[in-house]
Each structure stands twice: as C-alpha cells, then as structure tokens.
Amino acid sequence: MTTAAPTRPRPRTRLGLGVGMDLPWGARTGFRETDDGGDITPRVRTFLERHAGDFAYSFFAFQPRHRARLRTADYVTAYDRLYAAMPGLHTRAFHHTLLNMGTPEAYDRRPAAEFANALHARYGFSWVVEDLGIWSLQGRPLPYPLPPVLTEEGLRLATANARQARELLEPPLHVEFPGFTEGGSFVLGGLDGFDYFRRLAEDADVHVTLDVGHVLSYQWLKGRTGRAMFDELERLPLDRCRELHLSGCQIVDGKFRDLHHGILLDEQIELTRHLLPRCPNLLGVTYEDPVYGDDGELVEKSRRNYARLRDLVTAWAGRDTP
C-alpha cells in the first residue's frame, strides 16, 4: 500500500546509526543528584567516552527528577553535562514520555510540549519521538505504556492527540509504533494495529518511528512468526518512517518481550535488513538502551548482534545518494 509522505522536506542525508538512552535519576545508568543541579553517572560518562564516536546521533528519554512541576531549570545542568560528554554528536533528538498520545482521556499536553520546546531552543533537537501509548491514566503512571485502544473511537482520539502534539511542538514529531508486549500489556479493541497506525499517521500528518521489537511483538501477537514476520508490513506507513529503533528483546515463556536489556535477537536484525530499503525517507537507525558495565563496555552477550547492526546500518548509510 502506498501512502503519501508528510509535507515536509525529504532527508538528503542518511545519518546512520544513533544511540538512544533511557537515563533515570538515581540509577547507576542514568542521572545522579549533585549539589549543583545533577550530572550523568560515572558509568554513563565512561560509556560515552568509549563509544560516543560509534554513533551519528543521540537521544535520551525523559525521566522525571522528582514530583515538582515541570521546569527546564531543574534539568538543564544535568543535560548540559550529558551533551558535554559527547561533544562530537551534534545531531540530537529527544524521546518524550509525557505526551501520552494513546490516551483516551482529556489530557493537557501543553506543559510537556513547552518543556520540549524550551529544551529544543537550548539543544537544537532534530526531532521529538514518543511511543503511541497510554503512559499514564487519570494522573497515575502505568508500569509500561499500554497500546492505544484499538477501536474507531480510540483511533479518533489518538489521532487528535498526535495532531495536537505535532502542532504544539517546534521540532518535528515522530510517533512511534506502540509496543504490544512491553513488560505486560493488554489490548482493548480489535482493529488491526498496522492499519490503525497508518491511518493515524496519515490523518495526523506525522512522521513515524518503527521500533523493530514493537513491530515483531505485534507480529507474534498475530501469530506471524518465522518467515511470516515479514507479512503485512506494507500496511505500515513506511513512507513516513524516519527512524528505526532496536532495543534488547527476548522470548520468555513463549511470549515476545521487549526487555531493553541490550541483547538484540537475530529476528530484529533480519527485520531491520528487510525494512531499510522499504523506508525511503529513513534518517537513521537507533540502538536503544545499550547495556554496559562500569568499564563502559557493552555486555558480552550484546556485542555480536550490535556489531551486525552496526555493519548493516553503515552499509545502508554509505549507499546514500544526495
């Protein structure tokens, strides 16, 4: 199925491989409190010293520092230090977690957009991305973002949410295909997930991100495993796809789990290989949530398929024709 591309300029350059980092406050891989506004942990600094040069762009996922109202002043000292630790990575994006575009309830997303816009003014984000999920409900965070409600009314509401988020944000918005087994997820409604996402992207006129693990999790949910994992992908808005994400996944008790543990499945590499030539407007491929020790080195089990991903993306980026 052919879909119309958004009315924004086509990328002239393939960025290549990027890194996406979830950096919670207080975790060993994350941000830490300091008397003067916060910093990355020594483990993150060591990783960036060793590996920032491997990547062409970066994003980090927003994590709240505390329960104060959202103010950039509470975050920029730590974010300045994060970016100072990767001075060569000039292309930056921002993974939001407060736009809550999958929710069916009325939700004031202006503070989240204003926060992102203020950070954009300081750091010059190339885009803002967030999964199309229900991140919180009635003001209470959910353990994992739930998929949006797969009914016509759920689609209408989520489309309006995505359109509004796009209009509020100054950087381009990339809406990410939701995870269907992100820890524990249940789905309300029976619409097809790929059709739902394509209709939303077209009607909200947004770019999209395809998380390869999320796509695989949906294929597993529909029983499309093995060679069937390539079936039906043309129903996704591939023309609108600007970014692929890959994070560590695993099959647990016969279920596909998006565990973000850094270890990529062979199937993720194969699906990425399949998608690269089918996404004509793709900017880059992000290795999301690498897992490393205090020495900054990737955990041993993750290295093989990380290297395969890097080689695959390097070859794809080299075929760029401006």
């Binding site: 207080g26 104060a68 009325a106 004031d108 003001g139 209470r140 353990p143 759920g154 524990g184 249940f186």
Partner: protein, 284 residues
Amino acid sequence: MTPPAAAGPTGPEPTGPEPTGPEQAGPEPTAPELTGPELTALLARLLTDDDYRERLAAHGPAAVTGNPAEHACLATVDHGELAFTARRFRTDLWHGDGAGGIADAFPRSLALLAARGRPRARLVREFLASPWFGRFRALPYTGEGISLEEAFAGYAMDLPCAAPDGADPAAQDLWYTLRHEMLLALLTALVHERPVSFRTDVPGILPTDHGHATVRTCPARLPARWGASAAADPGSTDVTCLYVCTPRAMAFGPVSRRVADALLRPGEPEAERVRQALRRRGIW
C-alpha cells in the same frame, strides 16, 4: 486544574451517515463504541478492581457487562497480561516508581496495620477501591490531585482499626502514627520537590522562611516511639509537636504550648523570638 477544552483530545466529531429515507439504501449502521471517558473508566477499572478483573478472566465479558461496546473491547483482553500489568501497577504504588512509594513513607504505620489484620495485599486492594485513591494524582495533566502519601493516609486513618480517640490505645497509636508519617512525607516533598505538582488538603501547614512547618497534638507516649529526642512533660497525657522542614533539615518533637501558640496565633508577641531561635538552628 481542569484542562481547557482545546488541550484535550477534541478532534472533529465523527460524521455519521447522511439521513436516508425509507427508499434509500444507507451504509451499514456502525455499532456504538465506548467514548473517551468510558474507555478511561474501563481501563482504570481493569487495573484497580480485582473482583471485576477476576470475573472477567473466569467467565468472560458477559459476566461483567451487558453493554455490547464494552463487551467488544473486553473480548480482546489477554488475561495473563492484564493480571501482570495490574500487579506491576500495585508494586509501583507500594515501592514507588522513581519517587517514593507507600512502603518508604509509612514503615511504622504498615507494621501497626499488619498487626491489626491489614497485610499488604488487603491494604492495597482496599486503598484502590477507596475514594481516597480517586483523589490521588501523580501527574497534574488530567487535573490536580493530592499526593500518594496523603491519599493513603486518608484511607488508612478512616479504617475502623484507627481512631484518634476512644478506649483502644492501639487504634490511637495507629491513627496518630499514620498522621505523623504523612506529615513527614508531605513536608519533605513540599521542601525538596518544590513547586510540587500536587495540592495538599491537609490543613495547618505553614510556609516558613525556607520551608514548611506544622504543629500537632498527639498522645504523649508516641513521639519517643517515633524517634523524637525531646521528651514530653512527665505526667502529661497529650503533647504538642512541632514539625519543621527546610532544605537543611527535617525535625519534629515536643514543644511547649507557648511556642506552639507563638507560631500559630497571628500577632503573638513571642512569635518573632521563637522564629529567630528556629532560624539559628537552620529549621525555619
């Protein structure tokens, strides 16, 4: 805070089929679907209502609803995934998800509650079903609410096994311990997470130069159990406690009625002297 209409998911109204006369063949009527508020309520119920979720898993959608739209939504639910998600939702409330949870804020109260027949599972189930949980908001984007600590304390202080007065000292101990731990948590949040994204409905919390303070009366036996170093007057049944929190320190303990009055009554001539004394200690 109620989000303005423009901030909500207020896309164009769905356009229904054109009116058709008896001779015209119209499109197939579409089944009514749950609205945004109905979907929100259904998702919340699936996460918080054990009985509803268990009947759904055991007997299917027909056992919990006669509404065809709700039935259609529920038909796709994976019950194992739903149960897992609901468990994680409870765990995050108990242990916190980045921020503190119930277990961190109420260690003494939880031990007393367990001794009075309220272990963790029962507490969480009852709390989720209580109106207090409905008032809790961790995020302010669907309207402002109270903090988890205030909501949980409100629920537990309403239990029959907790009472501020009466003949049962154990019920008194529980009620006052819940209030004590709630005040510690609230004052700490008001100082260290300012400006907080929740409101507090607890009366009598005063702003100070660098933080917040409050004064409360409790049975004289309790402050020492809570770790207060200053002792109550011997022989007194009740004692007045001052709670103060600044970025430098959190402190609580018995104070004289004169000190309490100086802080609480407008225009008290002693007030400035008391405040100066507290300033010198870095706790005003």
